[in-house]
């Protein structure tokens, strides 16, 4: 039995997730919001990898899923940033609270 158990990883992932979530919901700069989302995805990845080792059915699958997540996250970061650039060109701002076109 390892001295580091599954739940410790899960708790760590939870803390990181919460930090990311709070940041994503409150940060004003769109770049930071995006990066906070990355942090949340990372937290999830920790879970995946941790379950791959300590889960009910340990195996490589969890790591594979972590890889897929990283892939999709990378794609998301790219598209998100591109969208940010497009928005910035239109609005001349990166402040998320000044972008309220959803209202209309």
């Amino acid at each position: 039995m390892s001295s580091v158990s599954l739940s410790v990883y899960l708790v760590l992932a939870l803390i990181l997730f919460c930090i990311g979530l709070y940041g994503a919901l409150t940060k004003r700069n769109t770049v930071i919001v995006l990066i906070c989302i990355e942090l949340m995805l990372n937290a999830v990845n920790i879970n995946l990898v941790a379950f791959a080792k300590y889960g009910a059915h340990p195996g490589i699958t969890g790591q594979i899923f972590a890889l897929f997540t990283i892939t999709v996250a990378a794609a998301e970061a790219a598209v998100g940033l591109a969208a940010l650039m497009a928005l910035y060109r239109n609005r001349k701002t990166v402040h998320i609270d000044e972008i309220d076109s959803l209202k209309h």
Binding site: L14, I19, L34, Y54, P58, I64, A77
Partner: protein, 173 residues
Amino acid sequence: MSGEYLAFLALALVAITGGVLMLNLTKVVHMVIALVFTFISIAGLYVLLSAEFVAVVQVLIYSGAVTIMMLFGIMLTRHQEEEGEKTTTGGFWRKALTAIAVFAFGIAVYLGVYRLDFGEEGARLHENNTEQIGMALYSHYTIPFEIASVILLVALVGAIILAKKDDEGAPKS
């Protein structure tokens, strides 16, 4: 107290510190740099979890690609904020409510996970880790793998189109 435990504690501390710093720093670049610490320590955690390949990918993609991309994003936009301008949105109440909700959510999930232990351990994961991943990926997960590549392509094309400057002559919609 085993060495693994010490390593975990150190890495976890760095990861959380990075996150907290990200929340509290004022300059955007500093925030991104703070997160790099987090990303790297997460990679370290992956190693602890017998996932060397994922750890390497983590370093490459997050600490490398994503962070650099974000920094480019910051550079390409205007960031000469005046001193004292707030870095967060919403008023006190909204932030407080969000914080409470996040905290409550955390507590709820914590109650769910803090005793979670399946008692099993994937003891053979670290043996030829990369090979195992490769085997699984190209045998069992071929189709998802291919789809992931398509996603990357789509993201690439999409990002380019989005980021491209509008044609001067394009009719205004």
